[in-house]
C-alpha cells in the first residue's frame, strides 16, 4: 500500500505523509522513570490519540517527537529520520501545540501567527496576511488579532496556539491537550479541524487528551500511558468496554468516600 500524499494547501506541493515510529523509548529524569520502554507506530495520515492520567509522561513523549528532549534509551523516527537530529526539523514541518500555549508574549496575536511564514518566507505580506486571518477566523479570533497574549483568557491562548500551528501547514501535527480549557462548542470545532486536516491534507496527527468524546469521535487508534508505560494500544471502539481494570477505572472513576484517603475531608 502506498502512503497517502500530504498536499501543502498553499504551494500545492505534494509529499508523502509522514509516519512516526517510537521504538523502545525510555526517559529518566535522575532516578525517576518518566517513560518506560514505550513502542508504537503512528501511520502516515493517521489520527492517533494518546490518553492517560496526568503525570503519566504524555507531554514528555511529545517533546521527544519534536526533539526537545533526548531519549535515555530507544529512539523516535519520523519517516526514518531520527527525531533527535537537528536536520529533521529542517526537512519535515512539525507543529506542536504546547500544553501551556507557549505564545510569544512580546508579540501580538497577529505577529505570533505571522512569525513562522515570515521567517520561512512563505510569500509577500499580503499572502501571509490572508493565511493568518484565515487561521484566526477558523478559531473565531479575528477580533483579537491586535491583542497581546497577556490580554487573553486561557482558552483564547490555547486557540491562538492552535491557529499558530495551522499557519505552519505542518505535515505532522501534535496537540498537547488542545481542548482542556475550551468550552464544548470550541472543543467540537477543534475535533472538526483535526478531522479536516486529515481528510483533505493527510496531516498525520497525534493528540494528547483526556477528552474521551474527542478520542472516541476522531481517533483512528488510541494509546493509553500510565506511569510511563503504554498499557493500551488499539482502535477506539475497544475502549467502550475496556477489559483492563486500570483503564476502566481511568474512564469511570469510582470515588469512594469511605476510602481512608478522604478521612480528613469529613467533618
Amino acid at each position: 500500500m502506498n502512503p497517502p500524499i500530504h498536499r501543502n494547501p498553499i504551494t500545492a506541493v505534494e509529499s508523502p505523509a509522514v509516519g512516526v515510529t517510537i521504538d523502545g523509548l525510555t526517559k529518566n529524569f535522575g532516578p525517576f522513570q518518566a517513560l518506560k520502554n514505550v513502542s508504537f507506530a503512528v501511520e502516515p495520515g493517521e489520527i492517533f490519540v494518546l490518553m492517560g492520567p496526568s503525570g503519566s509522561g504524555k507531554s514528555v513523549l511529545l517533546k521527544h517527537i519534536v526533539g526537545l528532549e533526548a531519549a535515555t534509551a530507544g529512539r523516535v523516527l519520523i519517516n526514518d529520520q531520527d527525531a533527535a537530529a537537528a536536520h529533521t526539523l529542517e526537512r519535515i514541518r512539525i507543529a506542536l501545540v504546547f500544553q501551556a500555549g507557549a505564545l510569544f508574549n512580546s508579540l501580538s496575536v497577529y505577529d505570533n501567527l505571522a512569525l513562522y511564514p515570515r521567517e520561512h518566507r512563505f510569500g509577500d505580506e499580503a499572502t501571509i496576511r490572508d493565511k493568518v486571518m484565515r487561521a484566526l477566523q477558523i478559531l473565531s479570533l479575528e477580533n483579537s488579532a491586535q491583542k497581546f497574549p497577556s490580554e487573553l483568557s486561557g482558552g483564547m491562548r490555547k486557540r491562538v496556539a492552535i491557529a499558530r500551528a495551522l499557519v505552519m501547514e505542518p505535515q505532522l501535527m501534535l496537540y498537547d491537550e488542545p481542548t482542556s480549557e475550551l468550552d464544548p462548542v470550541m472543543s467540537a470545532t477543534i475535533s472538526e479541524i483535526i478531522a479536516t486536516l486529515k481528510d483533505e491534507y493527510h496531516v498525520t496527527t497525534i493528540v494528547v487528551s483526556h477528552d474521551r468524546e474527542l478520542a472516541l469521535g476522531i481517533a483512528d487508534r488510541v494509546g493509553i500511558l500510565m506511569g510511563g508505560e503504554l498499557v493500551f494500544l488499539g482502535p477506539p471502539a475497544s475502549l467502550r468496554q475496556p477489559a483492563d481494570p486500570r483503564i476502566a477505572d481511568f474512564f469511570h472513576p469510582r470515588i469512594d468516600l469511605k476510602n481512608p484517603r478522604f478521612k480528613n475531608l469529613e467533618t
Binding site: 519534536v66 512539525i94 501551556a100 510569544f104 513562522y116 520561512h120 505552519m168
Partner: protein, 250 residues
C-alpha cells in the same frame, strides 16, 4: 572544582552561541527591524545615564587631579590627565558597566523568561533558531552602538572636567587652556584604543547575557537568579578583560 566546571560550561555555551549566531550573518539585512529595535534599546535608552555618570566622573577626576597636581605645580596638565584617562580607560569601562546593568540585565530577563515559558522551545520546533532572531540582532546592535556611546561618554566626561576646572576656585583653569592641554598629548590611537575596548566589552557583555538567559532552566524563580548571575559575570569579565586588552594594545 565545581566552580571551575561551571565556569568552563558557561564559557563553552557562550562560544557555541557565538558560532551559531555567526552562521546567520547573512540574514541580518532581512532582520533590519529587529536590529533597529535593539539599537534603540541598547543605545538610546542608555544614553541619559551614560551622560550623567560620565559628566560626574569627569568632574571628580578633575577635582582629584587638581588637588594632587597642585603639589607639583602641574595644574596645567589636568586637561591631559582627564582626557587620556577617559579616552583610554574610564569611558569604555563606565559605558560597558552601564550597558551590563541597564541592557544586559534586561536581555537576560527577557530571554530567561522566554526560555522558562517555553517560547524558546516553540521557536526551536518552528525551525527558527533562537540564535538567529534573538541573539544575532543584539550582537550586531551592540557592535554599532558601543563606539557611539563611548565617544559621547568621552566628550561628556571631558566637558565635566572642564566645568570643574573653570568654576572650582582652587583650580581655576580656563577651558581654552584645559582643552589645549587635552589635545596636546592625545593621539588618535588613544581614542582608538578606547573604542576597541568598548567594542570588546559591550560585545562580550551581550553575549554573556544572552547565553545565561537562554540557558536558564526551571521555573520563574530562576529568571531572577539568571539576571543576577549575568550582571555579576559581566562585571567580572569587563574588569578582567580590561587588564588583558589594555596590555595587548599597549
Amino acid at each position: 572544582m565545581k566552580q571551575l566546571t561551571h565556569f568552563l560550561q558557561g564559557f563553552g555555551s557562550a562560544v557555541q552561541l557565538l558560532l551559531q549566531s555567526a552562521r546567520f550573518i547573512g540574514t541580518l539585512p532581512r532582520q533590519r527591524a529587529r536590529f533597529i529595535d535593539q539599537c534603540y534599546l541598547i543605545g538610546y535608552t542608555t544614553l541619559p545615564i551614560v551622560a550623567i555618570l560620565c559628566f560626574f566622573m569627569g568632574s571628580v577626576l578633575a577635582l582629584q587631579s587638581g588637588y594632587s597636581m597642585e603639589n607639583f605645580g602641574a595644574k596645567q596638565f589636568i586637561g591631559s590627565l582627564v582626557g587620556l584617562s577617559f579616552a583610554r580607560e574610564l569611558g569604555p569601562v563606565i559605558v560597558a558597566i552601564l550597558v551590563a546593568g541597564r541592557v544586559g540585565s534586561a536581555i537576560t530577563a527577557e530571554l530567561a523568561s522566554m526560555k522558562v515559558y517555553q517560547e524558546v522551545d516553540a521557536l526551536v520546533t518552528m525551525n527558527i533558531p533562537p540564535a538567529r532572531i534573538l541573539v544575532l540582532p543584539r550582537l550586531a546592535a551592540v557592535l554599532v552602538m558601543m563606539p557611539v556611546l563611548a565617544i559621547i561618554g568621552n566628550l561628556i566626561g571631558w566637558f565635566g572636567g572642564a566645568v570643574v576646572c573653570k568654576y572650582v576656585e582652587s583650580i581655576a583653569i580656563e577651558p581654552e587652556a584645559y582643552f589645549s592641554a587635552l589635545r596636546r598629548y592625545m593621539k588618535f590611537q588613544d581614542v582608538g584604543t578606547g573604542l576597541i575596548k568598548a567594542e570588546i566589552f559591550g560585545f562580550v557583555v551581550v553575549l554573556i547575557c544572552c547565553s545565561i538567559g537562554l540557558n536558564t532552566r526551571g521555573g520563574p524563580r530562576e529568571i531572577g537568579a539568571s539576571v543576577t548571575k549575568a550582571v555579576v559575570v559581566s562585571l567580572i569579565s569587563i574588569l578582567v578583560l580590561d587588564y588583558f586588552v589594555t596590555k595587548a594594545l599597549m
